[in-house]
């Protein structure tokens, strides 16, 4: 075992663990357990908010598969990844103050709470809870597997042992610390990701003999690598541009992201978070994908894209520094998985159990229930990650686009369009999800674009037309929005 690499990683796990214990003090002393456990008491400052957004969003796929794809495709893939710069400011500007004010008025703790109060419909609640539980549950198992594999490849431990080390450390701090623990560890993890990519980029440039040398090596190998069109010239402008919808503006509708727009303390923290998150997201995405491209002349012939990051770190950095840098993808995975875990848990406890099964549950009952649900969910995902069923893998491939297609119009329309109603909301979610699955399965890339674009357009038509045609049935209730 390579202890010089492993020690910094272990140290990192220990720090994260203590943050959980520290946050647990807040949970104990809070007046409202629900607000604290699932939303950090709505008290996040600008920096923490920005970092928790960034690191929730930057997941295993962006840290391991992203650089891998850039390694194979060249600068065209970096261009594609830069569509994510918009995520930082767009989400917070669109949901922004209106979402914060309304969710406070509704006393909403989850996205489903917001939809429930806005549309006043049991079916909206049930449909959205089910989508969240199914999609995010599957998305979580992929992150879990990624974490296990990463530890396995670094330490040489068997996969199962690696998976248990990884999950035990994540589970403990999420279960006891709740949202605040998640947000604070996200901040540490976001900083690690930021510094890690910077160090690694510098290391790679030095190892490659400078940027001009690297670029000319790439051009000599295949000149498509330095064009916007990808190694085989098959990245069309339509396709690349459609990622503005999938990873840029559509991110507004991801529940794990949107819930963060409920948690800020005041407008000043919101303003600060907009600037910081734009900078950090753009910086990490640009560097991380450039690392992937620049790694190609230094380490040619890597077959498995996901291993580019770990391999290049060990190649160009001294072992102890590689250990620190490799905490970055681990941080990315942990911070995504913890956000998903707390969100699925809040959906089960708040949206399903308290709404429909036992509305009169006591404060201490909620406390016990929340912690046990979080534990049980965590354990189920671990068990599934040991040998993931095909269905989970399949669902998880679709989770991001599926959630966006389901939620974008109910959330945006709910905030900004007074005529949007429950019928429109249900129609839009159903149409969005169904067509997304149909496109992905039978007709990927309609009009040369990612299928999420066409699904969101159809969901929009459904939301508007059904809302307008049912105006009389749904008299008045939400007309006071504008």
């Amino acid at each position: 075992m390579n202890w010089q690499v492993i020690l910094p990683l272990l140290l990192f796990l220990v720090i994260v663990f203590f943050v959980g214990i520290w946050a647990a003090r807040h949970v104990k002393s809070s007046d409202s357990f629900l607000q604290e456990y699932f939303l950090g008491g709505r008290s996040l400052g600008g920096f923490v908010l920005a970092m928790t957004l960034v690191s929730t969003y930057g997941s295993a796929s962006s840290f391991l598969s992203g650089p891998g794809a850039a390694y194979n495709q060249g600068l065209g893939w970096v261009l594609l990844s830069m569509t994510q710069v918009a995520t930082g400011y767009f989400v917070l500007m669109i949901l922004g103050k209106k979402f914060a004010i309304i969710t406070r008025k509704y006393n909403a703790v989850t996205i489903v709470d917001f939809l429930k109060e806005r549309y006043q419909s049991k079916w909206v609640v049930i449909l959205s809870s089910i989508s969240i539980i199914i999609f995010l549950f599957s998305a979580m198992s992929a992150q879990w597997i990624g974490g296990g594999r990463l530890i396995q490849s670094l330490t040489g431990l068997p996969y199962i042992t690696a998976l248990f080390i990884f999950t035990a450390s994540v589970l403990i701090y999420v279960i006891i610390g709740g949202f605040r623990a998640v947000a604070i560890t996200d901040t540490i993890q976001g900083s690690v990701m930021f510094i890690g990519t910077l160090i690694l980029l510098v290391g790679v440039i030095i190892a490659g003999g400078g940027v001009p040398a690297i670029i000319s090596d790439l051009a000599a190998e295949n000149q498509n690598l330095i064009t916007p069109f990808g190694a085989n010239a098959d990245l069309t402008p339509q396709y690349v541009s459609s990622f503005w919808v999938l990873v840029g503006v559509g991110v507004v509708a991801l529940p794990q992201i949107a819930v963060r727009a409920m948690s800020y303390k005041n407008s000043r923290s919101l303003h600060r978070a907009i600037v910081i998150s734009t900078f950090v997201v753009g910086f990490i995405m640009l560097n991380m994908h450039l690392i992937g491209v620049f790694a190609r002349p230094i380490l040619p012939g890597i077959e498995v894209g996901d291993t580019v990051m770990p391999l290049i770190s060990m190649e160009v950095l001294p072992p102890w520094l590689a250990g620190i840098v490799l905490a970055a993808p681990m941080a990315a995975i942990m911070s995504t998985v913890n956000a998903l875990l707390i969100l699925v848990s809040s959906t089960v406890v708040k949206d399903v159990y308290i709404n429909y099964i036992n509305p009169k549950v006591s404060e201490s009952g909620i406390r016990r229930l929340s912690m046990s649900v979080t534990t049980i969910l965590g354990v189920i995902v671990v068990l599934m990650s040991l040998n993931p069923p095909d269905l989970i893998i399949w669902l998880n491939l679709f989770s991001m686009g599926g959630l966006e297609a389901a939620f974008i119009w109910p959330i945006i329309g709910g905030l900004y369009w007074s005529k949007g109603n429950k019928y429109g909301s249900i129609a839009s979610s159903v149409v969005g999800i169904v067509f997304y699955f149909i496109f992905e399965t039978y007709y990927p890339q309609p009009f040369g674009m990612h299928s999420v674009v066409a699904s969101i357009v159809l969901a929009f038509i459904a939301y508007v037309s059904v809302s307008l045609s049912t105006q009389k049935k749904d008299s008045g209730l939400s007309n006071s929005f504008n």
């Binding site: 569509t83 767009f90 500007m93 669109i94 004010i101 509704y106 916007p228 541009s241 005041n266 407008s267």
Partner: protein
């Protein structure tokens, strides 16, 4: 808890501010897209042997991804600093301010 109509006053001045800020967000995204797309495919569409370079990076990439990112940071900073307005979020906060 039920939705009370009087809770959501459409004349709430804060919503006018929020709506304007959301429009600023949309404007920034559109600008961001045009800049990104224009430089990437405008300069990158030619034959790679005719590319010019800045700091070793092909010009299309340098202007679209690197300069584009810096320009967006500056614009977002200006938008937030000069056009975004501080408002209270909750009732408590509002009372404190009075």
């Amino acid at each position: 808890m039920t939705l009370k109509k009087e809770d959501i006053d459409k004349n709430d001045y804060r919503f006018k501010i929020a709506n304007r800020e959301a429009l600023i967000g949309i404007g920034l995204v559109i600008f961001n897209f045009i800049w990104w797309f224009g430089f990437a495919y405008g300069l990158g569409g030619q034959d790679p042997s005719e590319y010019s370079y800045t700091f070793g990076l092909p010009n299309w990439f340098f202007y679209s991804c690197v300069v584009g990112f810096i320009v967006m940071i500056i614009l977002v900073f200006i938008a937030v600093k000069f056009f975004f307005v501080d408002v209270p979020f909750g009732e408590d906060e509002e009372n404190e301010d009075k």
